[in-house]
């Protein structure tokens, strides 16, 4: 993937192993909040863990099972956005962003770019988005981008405590996409 320009200060880039220190710093600075929604944040304990994850992502991208970009804000790796679970021209989108950069509309802009890539480049028919009911920041991104709430999947997401949380499921169809 070539560098994709979302705005003059925001780019999407293919994951590089050299992104590991900056991404790890984001995770490490915000571990409690991130791991509330993203169980992997609890197990990413070192820069080496983050580098191993990036290498795994590169392999999954090469085998066409994953699309993933590192979000660069002012040239600094600050988060990720991905498409996974490709099936029947559907995929699911996932994302996270450094806590100091949230609430500025950055992820909403990144999601618009990923919709453009998903529908126009990858030929998807629909993009799904799952968010826990009380993850208001993530749901606001989905709703700003006009995703439709299809339902609430009961006890869908496993937690680090070993129980499950519900997930709101959203979808957007290719014909609903406008930049």
């Amino acid at each position: 993937m070539a560098l994709y320009s979302v705005s003059p200060t925001i780019q999407l880039n293919a994951p590089q192993l050299s992104d590991a220190p900056a991404l790890f710093a984001c995770v490490d600075a915000d571990r409690d909040l991130l791991s509330q929604w993203l169980p992997w944040a609890a197990t990413t304990r070192t820069v080496a863990d983050e580098a191993a994850f990036l290498k795994y992502c590169q392999e999954r991208i090469t085998s066409h099972q994953l699309w993933l970009a590192v979000i660069l804000v002012a040239d600094r790796p600050a988060g990720m956005i991905d498409l996974h679970d490709f099936k029947d021209q559907h995929a699911s989108v996932g994302y996270w962003l450094d806590h100091t950069l949230r609430g500025k509309g950055i992820m909403t802009q990144c999601l618009a770019a990923v919709e453009e890539i998903g529908f126009n480049t990858l030929g998807l028919h629909s993009i799904n988005l799952l968010a826990e009911p009380d993850n208001h920041a993530s749901r606001a991104v989905a709703e700003h981008r006009g995703f439709h709430q299809d339902g609430v999947l009961r006890e869908y997401i496993p937690t680090i405590r070993g129980d499950y949380r519900d997930a709101v499921v959203y979808s957007k169809l290719d014909r609903e996409f406008t930049a």
């Binding site: 029947d88 629909s126 339902g151 999947l153 009961r154 869908y156 499950y164 169809l173």
Partner: protein, 179 residues
């Protein structure tokens, strides 16, 4: 076979064997348009050999704990299949079909109860899901009779044999709902 005899016969589930292929193929082949409407994979079953290959692949996936499949027998007659697939995070999705002469007699509702017991008591799953096209009212009736909860409607989710998409009702049953 006189359909009204069926209600007096005992329904049971058996581990699939490749020798079931001729009987299962005959059920599919005599009812191809009705089955293919909701189960596009039947289009790829054009011979007894195709069904035998499907069963062989299924047995390999069962051995690898990626799949669970039983042949539904009504007395001495193979009548259809029921399976668990897409195992992930303590949940799995159910799939089922019955041959034409065996539908509308409560057989699948009975069988689904047995599979719920297998899933929750033996496989220790937390949740079962059913994803059923909105137009497939007889399959939805089975879900309702077994007390599944409607979580939502996934828009344009199921790819049909003609390349269009059907909306799908997604149902769930939790381990704690199971009696």
């Amino acid at each position: 076979m006189k359909p009204h005899f069926l209600t007096a016969l005992t329904t049971h589930l058996m581990t699939p064997v490749v020798a079931d292929a001729p009987a299962l193929f005959a059920l599919i082949d005599q009812d191809r348009p009705a089955l293919a409407r909701w189960m596009p994979r039947t289009a790829s079953i054009q011979s007894v050999e195709d069904e035998a290959a499907f069963l062989l692949t299924s047995l390999e996936r069962i051995s690898a704990n990626q799949f669970w499949l039983a042949v539904i027998w009504v007395g001495p007659y193979p009548a259809g299949t029921i399976d668990l697939h897409a195992f992930k995070d303590g949940h799995a999705e159910i799939g089922y079909w019955l041959g034409r002469d065996f539908r509308g007699k409560g057989i699948m509702t009975h069988v689904l109860g047995i599979v719920e017991d297998v899933a929750f008591s033996q496989l220790n799953l937390n949740k079962l899901e059913l994803v059923i096209a909105t137009g497939n009212t007889s399959s939805q009736a089975v879900a309702h009779r077994r007390g599944f909860h409607q979580d939502g409607i996934l828009r344009e989710h199921l790819l049909t044999a003609t390349g269009s998409y059907d909306d799908a009702v997604i149902y769930s049953k939790l381990k704690r709902d199971f009696h």
